[in-house]
Symmetry: C2
Subunit: 234 residues, 2 copies
Amino acid sequence: MQIRLFIDSPLSVGQTVALPENQVHYLKNVLRADVGAELYVFDGKNGEFAAVLSALGKKSGDIQICRVLRGQPAARDVRLYFSPLKRDCTELVAEKATELGAARLVPVITDYTAMKRVNVERLKATVVEACEQCRRLDVPRVDEPALLRDVLSGWGESDPVLFHLDETGRGKRAGEVFAGVERAAFLTGPEGGFSEAERALIAKTPNTAGLDLGERILRAETASIAALALFMCR
Amino acid sequence: MQIRLFIDSPLSVGQTVALPENQVHYLKNVLRADVGAELYVFDGKNGEFAAVLSALGKKSGDIQICRVLRGQPAARDVRLYFSPLKRDCTELVAEKATELGAARLVPVITDYTAMKRVNVERLKATVVEACEQCRRLDVPRVDEPALLRDVLSGWGESDPVLFHLDETGRGKRAGEVFAGVERAAFLTGPEGGFSEAERALIAKTPNTAGLDLGERILRAETASIAALALFMCR
């Protein structure tokens, strides 16, 4: 399998780039790569490049950028506003949302959110790993947690359509509400769902729509994944 | 949260049912339920019932079935044929496929399947737990592993349409191929994809269609979840 690495600085052909210690460790001790190995690298902004491992020491290593493989595609404005869940489920959501093409992940604290602490640095690492794995070239942005109330109070007609997962039966099916929509945001609550006050607030917020994912009660993480799959793979 | 239990014998109103030891343990030691507690129970065939915990000993317990809550819905013939993955990923697929409504899960061994041992009993338990959790009343059937070649050689026009996940670019998008389809089967390969020989075999099998889930390379478990979400939540 081709080694793919995210490099957190702008890349261009001809450059020599020093690798950070964790990537040196990964190449040397996990993948057992040697000098001369070909890698694919991307920086999230300038596309994908073929590179060669040109030096590998105990704690340092260099790569040389050889040629352009793919140009950077335009990112779509598709966002996920999700209540933090248990650690494993939050990481599952971040990984799958990245694979499915979400451009921005925003943890939102709602009335019934039980897990109020979010390890944003860990989520950023999860997202980078998922990009390396799924050949995606743009790395989704991961925001600091926000209060749902603040997100809603700032939402307007110039923002994407905010689809909230609606289990009350008043939401509409994907086929009905996605037609013609290019920029979308999805909002999923915690295991306990949204509070009455939150539902009322969402109903008053412009540019929102309820999404109905069918008669089964999906777990919060499944609802996030299903909604993104429906939108991105239609 | 309402306690929901799957009872593995036919239920009807008025019955007293002895609980198996693991459910007694779960009620007594995990949920700390007492005699008189109300439960929702389902048997996978006759709908959902309200019941009362009428006796609770150290290792035994009885429930009394009080009234019908929901009739049994008709199950849809939607199946997932999936290559076993690492244990966690296989269980993730089984859990999410249950939430999303798959009626039958079939592990298939393909040329590149690395994990050839499947703990079918563990998968059945995962599926039951997911049903208890997501309020689903029919429990998906979990088959013993089958060889992909045998599945394909027996596939015909009277079977559901077999959609295989096609990353070669020759597949079609969900919106194009799902229209009017009521009975469907999905086929997802292992991390390494299908072999050339398998692709040729699939192409010769009647009643199959390639499904394209977009430009990103989804992990095998994500592809299974996304395909079912697309079909069941459209």
